[in-house]
Amino acid sequence: MLHRRELLKRAGIGALAAGFPGLVFAKAETDARLVVFILRGAMDGMAMLAPYGDGNYAGLRGELALAAPGHEGGLLKADGLFGIHPALKHTHELYQKRQALFVHAVASPYRERSHFEGQDQLENGSTAGNFLRDGWLNRALEPLAGGQGNEKAIAISQNTPLVLRGSQPVTSWAPSRMPDANEDTLHRIESLYAHDEFFATRLAQAIHAREIAGGMSGVQQKRGKQAKQLKALMQASARFLSAENGPRIAVLESGGWDTHARQGAASGSLANKFAMLDQGIMALQQELGSVWAKTVVMVVTEFGRTVKVNGTRGTDHGTATAAMLVGGAVNGGRVVADWPGLAPSNLYQGRDLYPTTDIRSVFKGVLGQHLNLQESFLDKHVFPGGKPASMIENLIRV
């Protein structure tokens, strides 16, 4: 286990650029690809990456505790303290290839337990309350030289999640099973919308996304299994990210992580969700081919769950959780955690994993090191307000 690094002092290139205002907003040419995957409902980080080496773990987690590595249905070893959920097989292989990294005991600055506020704060990147109506990832797009018709980011869903909403143009795409309107009708609708910016912008984006998606007949949404759908969406994301002049950033979301009842341990409902996520990542990797080497996938959730099992063999809303980075560009094979421990006195409000890392420190690390955005820009524009979160170093392979 590696301890959380010292924060990167706002020095060096950042300070230099700050002296030349023009440079702060210099276009950041990047070939890097970023996928942000939001798990809605508060994913149980203690199940994704279990601290089997913590003396209090097995007792507190009771029937939800996962066996230590090497036992039947046991965890997949990360290090002497942490093990990866057994359903995350492929992710564990990536971890062994140093292409997967976990951050544990991580949380946004939000300290209440509402999903909806928690998700808002995860996505708007604010320090307190919901005062930002746009998303941090949208604000980060400014230096990436995107524009109308050349959007740098895409939501793989019909609608745009908050993290991508804002003044920078973004697009969205989801598979269709309805017959296409013909060319001529579309042109006429375009001119019908010419006087109404709300409609005109969105139609232009949708048409552009469809041009890239053109060859994707194989991604028609199949009925049935969620896993199949996620796999198809991951493959579609990979196509977008591989397209020449296509978007460089994709956002996906998945619901159903609110495991209040019967969440299961090595098998069961949460294990099935992890397996689905694992297969989705594998599908993305396969479809990306050589682009995988330039890719970071960041898997995050709004907050964690109680350490103890509740009365219905599940867990209630908690505080700190785990986040995951996978991809060819990740400097992985390790867990970044300032582990607070699970002794009763170390728990947040006597019930939750204590947050020791700000999720924005992870966001900053990825935006700064992977997309080459300057720290001064990140602090001023992407995560404004309050004391800046420190940036976690060395998240990305050099």
Binding site: R202, N310, G311, G314
Partner: protein, 474 residues
């Protein structure tokens, strides 16, 4: 090229009454509203005196749940017999039973949306059903999400908020959706007795889900002044709020109906937001709900949601204050609160500021043609594609109510595809210019009119009408 039709143009007030307050004009509706749009709305406040037969005759949720749970039990027994291997046929049987109930309820709802003469009341039903959302993506809630709307929301909009609140929190769909049936007081008889299976050493305990969502989403709102300790205490109060069953150790009460289970109820008094509740049994939870229903935070939270739904994504503070004041002084009298919306000047100000949700868009399309599709699955599929599967908001917060959520580029494209396929079905039976006059009245812009009149075909003209910004806003 289509010839324009001269006709009397209906006022913007009628258009607002039919589109913002109603579910989109049916042919002839604007004319009906025209003499006095406000009266037209106020007369709908109490809703129809009886429900149409296709809603009345739907199976009730206790019957549905009893059946669904019986199938599930059989399924488990078969699985056990087969040495733990799931039996595909029995899983299929369960899935198709649940799906069948779900589809019937969705079908009845859409039929009613199109045919009702009380579209304002029906919109209120949708609003409150979304406020107390039980999402059909959880089993076995899928089978009763529509029944919840019919049994909890429809009969209770003519009375007080507290009655609606009590009905909602006691309905098995809510109890199952928010996991309360298995929340057990750690000091309850059940927890202490030998009734629990010995092999499970897990101590009996509460589940906070229902308590939290009542406070956060149904009454006070997230900034309404409660803390984690209040959630925990309230969860203890609510232990025992459960459902009857005819199976095994749970056997008690009427299967599939609300049942207070004394033996799982935490016996002590509890303090919530500074007030001690020492009542016994179900009365303790009822007392908390009564208190919450009168709270100023609840009045503000509800008023804010209503104004956002009816008037603007950024509600005017003055109007929210006014509606909240009516809520408080009338003791949460719902018709009076709803009336306050109609009587606010902000409601009647153009431009039409709300971007329709996919569901509103689809319903208003059907109403424009006065047409209910025979196959409910077509509607379900189309709404899935636009991002709003019926009764499946996916979370207890319900569907969002702002354009920044619904304004995805892809979702707009799906609406255009939908407009196009509906226009194809309608074919040459409609004249899109006449239809535009009839459903959009004074809101039918010259720009849209011109585009339609230049269309190469009737189908294309109808597509343009339905896809137009005039039609997609309310």
């Amino acid at each position: 090229m289509l010839a324009p039709v001269p006709g009397e143009i209906m006022s913007i007030e009628s258009v607002i009454a039919a589109n913002r307050f109603g579910l989109g004009a049916r042919p002839g509706e604007l004319k009906r509203a025209e003499p006095d749009p406000k009266i037209y709305l106020l007369e709908q406040l109490q809703g129809p005196s009886s429900q149409p037969a296709y809603i009345r005759d739907l199976p009730r949720s206790d019957k549905i749940l009893a059946e669904v749970l019986r199938i599930r039990k059989e399924q488990r027994a078969l699985k056990k017999k087969a040495g733990g291997e799931p039996i595909p046929e029995s899983m299929k049987m369960y899935g198709s039973t649940v799906r069948h109930f779900y589809v019937d309820q969705v079908g009845a709802r859409f039929r009613n949306c199109v045919q009702t003469d009380y579209p304002f009341h029906e919109r209120l039903v949708h609003f409150w059903s979304n406020h107390f959302a039980v999402s059909a993506d959880k089993q076995p809630v899928s089978a009763v999400a529509g029944a919840f709307e019919n049994e909890v929301i429809r009969p209770n909009l003519g009375g007080k908020f507290i009655d609606l609140l009590l009905a909602a929190e006691k309905h098995p769909a809510m109890i199952l959706y928010l996991d309360n049936e298995k929340s057990v007081g750690p000091n309850s008889d059940f927890a202490k007795s030998g009734k629990r299976r010995r092999k499970k050493k897990r101590p009996a305990d509460i589940n906070e889900n229902l308590a939290r969502e009542i406070l956060e989403l149904h009454t006070l709102g997230v900034d309404g002044g409660y803390r984690q300790g209040d959630v925990t205490a309230f969860a203890k109060v609510l232990t025992g709020w459960s459902m009857g069953s005819d199976q095994g150790r749970q056997k008690a009460g009427t299967p599939g109906a609300f049942l207070f289970r004394e033996n799982t109820h935490e016996p002590d008094s509890q303090v919530i937001m500074g007030e001690r509740y020492g009542q016994h049994g179900v009365a303790q939870g009822e007392a908390v709900l009564h208190k919450l229903a009168r709270h100023t935070s609840t009045a503000r939270f509800v008023a804010d949601k209503l104004v956002r739904h009816f008037v603007a994504d950024d509600p005017s503070v003055a109007m929210v204050d006014r509606v909240a004041a009516v809520f408080l002084e009338s003791g949460g009298d719902l018709p009076r609160v709803h009336e306050a919306l109609v009587n606010s000047k902000e409601s009647w100000q153009a431009p039409l500021s709300k971007y329709k949700t996919p569901e509103e868009f689809v319903i208003s399309t059907f109403r424009a043609f006065d047409y209910v599709p025979g196959k409910t699955k077509t509607i379900i599929r189309a709404l899935e594609q636009m991002g709003q599967s019926p009764f499946r908001p996916g979370s207890p917060a319900g569907w969002p109510d702002t354009a920044d959520h619904w304004g995805g580029a892809d979702a707009l494209y799906k609406r255009i595809e939908w407009a196009n396929s509906v226009a194809r079905i309608a074919g040459t039976r409609v004249n899109p210019l006449e239809l535009g006059e009839m459903v959009l009245g004074a809101n039918f812009s010259d720009h849209t009119r011109t585009a339609i009149s230049r269309a190469e075909s009737v189908v294309q003209g109808t597509t343009l009408l339905l896809a137009s910004p005039d039609f997609q806003r309310r």
